[in-house]
């Protein structure tokens, strides 16, 4: 009887969004009379930071600072249609819709500015700080604040835009059954190091080293936040969490936080996160969906590390001490 150490590796591809019947999201963008911009969505920010990302995307496209953008989400009565926040699709789908809507709004904004400056709209550019300048003659400029006032009170123009991003439904080819469930994949590779007590079956995760390829990280600190949390959730999926520990038998399922276990602050593995950026061709400014992907590779990595440590393959989650001990007994030839 001993503490045995093992190391496991796993790599995954993870689709951004899903596409069972076509996957659309819409966005609307309009300016206020003072040149702030409102993004209206039905998508939900449930803590992953969607509002911040959509504000950045809208600001980047229109050419204003991020704090000039207000994002209104999650009201399906008043917002344009969105399929929802799931399948790591938010940044990719809503982001593309926001770009389209913001481009249309920007075009109106430039047209109004062109009338005010008596130049051609195609000769104008934004400085990202809230001003519109004549290309090559930046001394000739107008603030977006003044453009919005003019549009509202003088010229009767609505500085607004509509955005719709649709991944059309993909049907299987009749001959081969091949189809294209997603247009964009994120990737990850994880190495897990564990200790397994072959007397108690208890697993301790020592280190979790992850590399994530997530397209472009639109907000690197928020990406890191997702990945650190996700890596921890992956350990939880691998070793702790379940609603039905003896599925399909429903007995002994957890009924509250006491019985639905996740690793606490005292159970943390030493975690390493490396981000690789390979901008995706159809992502908003190259982004993919890192959300759910980042909690997946740890699971097979832990299972492989357990095999490396004690030589048993656990193929049911979570990898509990009970399952390890039963497998060790079976391996030794004892009846279960």
């Amino acid at each position: 009887m001993a503490i045995r150490r093992g190391r496991g590796v796993a790599a995954i591809n993870y689709p951004t969004g899903m596409n069972l019947g076509g996957d659309p999201t819409q966005a609307l963008v309009h300016s206020t009379p003072t040149g702030n911009f409102m993004v209206t969505l039905s998508s939900v920010d449930l803590g992953q930071g969607m509002k911040q990302i959509m504000a950045q995307i809208c600001a980047e496209t229109i050419g204003v600072p991020t704090d000039r953008v207000v994002v209104d989400t999650a009201d399906t009565d008043t917002g344009p249609h969105c399929m929802g926040t799931f399948a790591s699709r938010g940044t990719h789908r809503a982001g593309n819709a926001v770009i389209q809507a913001a481009r249309e709004a920007r075009q109106v904004m430039l047209e109004v500015a062109a009338e005010e400056l008596e130049v051609n709209a195609s000769d104008l550019e934004t400085d990202g700080q809230g001003n519109i300048l004549v290309k090559g003659a930046p001394q000739k400029s107008i603030s977006i604040f003044d453009v919005a006032l003019s549009a509202h009170f003088k010229r009767g123009r609505s500085i607004s835009g509509r955005g719709m991003f649709l991944i059309p439904r993909s049907y299987p080819e009749k001959e081969t059954g091949a189809m294209k469930p997603s247009t964009c994949y994120a990737h990850a590779c994880t190495v897990a190091e564990v200790e397994v007590d072959d007397e108690t079956g208890e697993v301790t995760v020592l280190t979790m080293k992850n590399v994530f390829e997530i397209g472009r990280a639109l907000n690197p600190k928020m990406v890191e936040q997702q990945l650190v949390g996700g890596s921890w959730m992956g350990i939880s999926h691998a070793l702790y969490e379940t609603t039905e520990p003896y599925y399909p038998n429903r007995d002994h399922g957890g009924t509250d936080f006491n019985q639905y276990l996740m690793p606490g602050p005292g159970d943390l593995a030493q975690t390493e996160i490396i981000v690789l950026e390979r901008p995706s061709a159809d992502g908003p400014y190259g982004a993919k969906g890192p959300g759910e992907m980042c909690a997946n590779p740890q699971i097979p990595a832990v299972a492989n590390a357990v095999f490396d440590a004690v030589g048993v393959r656990i193929d049911t989650l979570p990898i509990t001490p009970e399952r390890i001990l039963r497998a060790l007994k079976a391996q030794a030839g004892a009846p279960n």
Binding site: G47, E224, G229, F257, T271
Partner: protein, 160 residues
């Protein structure tokens, strides 16, 4: 049944309410007084989201009857900032990206405040111990632990 009077100070302000006997402090704070910073997660003392400070001690407001708080001094996370300036713990949580959905954050900050009030220079183990009664489902705890350690360092620098 007759209502019961309760009186205490909340974040330094006098509060007096008539409540149904048996009402928890959590429900009194949220529904009667309108301070929604303590959150109702499990309502059975498991998750720590409802944590408040009563007379300097960390308490679970979902397990505390309001009528036992007569004369007490109660602090919640909504009372920490002063004149729009965030408390060092709130600042550190923001800077460390230690909050995602935010539901556990007020309870975490309460637990951390009691720790730092009693142990101004905590070790990592002290922080882990202090947060072990609070559940977070988003962050993986590491950013929260780092935020508390950062707040402790900035406190000791200010004191020096």
């Amino acid at each position: 049944m007759a209502k019961v009077p309760v009186q205490f100070t909340l974040n330094g302000a006098e509060k007096a309410e008539f409540i149904d006997s048996g009402t928890t402090l959590l429900n009194t704070l949220r529904d009667k007084i309108g301070d929604t910073s303590p959150k109702g997660g499990c309502h059975q003392g498991t998750c720590g989201a409802c944590s408040v400070i009563i007379n300097g001690e960390l308490r679970l407001s979902c397990l505390t009857l309001a009528e036992t708080c007569n004369g007490a001094a109660i602090t919640t996370t909504s009372g920490l900032s002063e004149g729009g300036v965030l408390h060092p713990l709130q600042r550190a949580f923001l800077d460390a990206f230690a909050t995602q959905c935010g539901f556990c954050t007020p309870g975490m900050i309460m637990a951390a405040k009691v720790l730092l009030d009693q142990t101004p220079n905590p070790s990592r183990e002290d922080v882990v111990e202090a947060l072990s009664g609070n559940i977070c489902r988003c962050t993986g705890y590491e950013p929260i632990i780092q935020a508390v350690l950062t707040a402790a360092r900035s406190n000791s620098q200010n004191a020096a």
